[in-house]
């Protein structure tokens, strides 16, 4: 399977995703420069974390106009797997590939640390190797992860099982304390209707090796590989 990691000016988790796909998950991986317009030959595309264009206007707002994004639309249209992590999630929202928008964290701080996340839907191409309702530990690191959407949108997301990850406490409860940024309904990750475009704030690539303090992220990449093989 061949993964593409898009490099925007200001991306900085590109190398981390590349490392995990190649050296931990053992799949082919290539960087894709944001000015490229070609995603032929790729089976999955990762929009990595970072500060594309410095995130100067709003996170992801400037990146969505990069030439590569047209190809990402088309790639998604054809059913290719697209995952946006952190800044990548913000870009997917700005680009309209996923519904809603990001607001600054309600604590007004950049927040880095580990959070507990519940896998609300283990029946997606990205989560099939998790148990339904499983609680996993993943790192977050962002200033704008306060997910917002109108009530109808949120209800629709919930109804159709498109809330894939939710911030919870150790007991699996989506409490206020477990919410690191004020995200609506503790939402940490959502998927599109067709099930091939996922956006999430936590960083699975930072928890794919035991030496980094956790391995819960690895199964996300392995799920993608499994989905692509079947």
């Amino acid at each position: 399977m061949k993964f593409g990691v898009v490099v925007f000016p200001g991306s900085n988790c590109d190398a981390d995703c590349y490392h995990v796909v190649r050296n931990v998950v053992g799949q082919e991986c290539e960087y894709v420069w944001h000015e490229s317009k070609d995603l032929r030959g790729f089976d999955a595309v990762i929009l990595p974390g970072g500060f594309s264009y410095g995130d100067y206007l709003r996170s992801g707002a400037l990146a969505r106009f990069s030439p590569i994004m047209q190809s990402v639309y088309e790639f998604a249209e054809k059913g290719g797997l697209v995952i946006g992590i952190c800044n990548g999630f913000q870009i997917l929202l700005e680009a309209g590939l996923l519904p809603g928008a990001m607001l600054p964290n309600d604590n007004l701080e950049f927040r880095c640390g580990w959070v507990n996340v519940k896998v609300e839907n283990a029946d997606t191409a990205f989560t099939r190797l998790y148990r339904p309702g499983e609680i996993v530990r993943m790192p977050i690191a962002h200033h704008e992860g306060n997910y917002y959407a109108e009530k109808e949108t949120l209800d629709e997301l919930e109804r159709s099982g498109r809330v894939v990850f939710r911030y919870v406490d150790e007991n699996g409860c989506p409490s206020r304390e477990a919410n690191p940024n004020g995200a609506a309904r503790n939402i940490a990750g959502i998927i599109n209707e067709r099930g091939n475009v996922l956006g999430m704030m936590p960083h699975p690539e930072r928890c794919s090796e035991a030496i980094l303090g956790g391995e819960d992220g690895r199964r996300l990449f392995l799920s993608m590989v499994r989905a692509l093989c079947s």
Binding site: A61, L62, F65, P104, G182
Partner: protein, 87 residues
Amino acid sequence: MKYKGTVVVTLKDGIFDPQGAAVRGSLLALGYPQVVDVRMGKNIVLYLDVPSKEEALSLLDEMARRLLANPVTETYMVSVEEWCSRP
């Protein structure tokens, strides 16, 4: 350059504005109980080289819609004034 455009981008009413709330909190602590509410927005000034004021306005509106404001969470207001040269 001929026109100085201003795009004011604000959070939609009804969306909680934590920054505004924090500023209000600080103002209360500084002794300003008269402050009932605070909302933070962006003030984006764009210097434009276009032939007419109408064109300036429609350009600003287009840029605000496409890039400067996020329609999910924000609204914007556009204004323009003549401008000879920047100081």
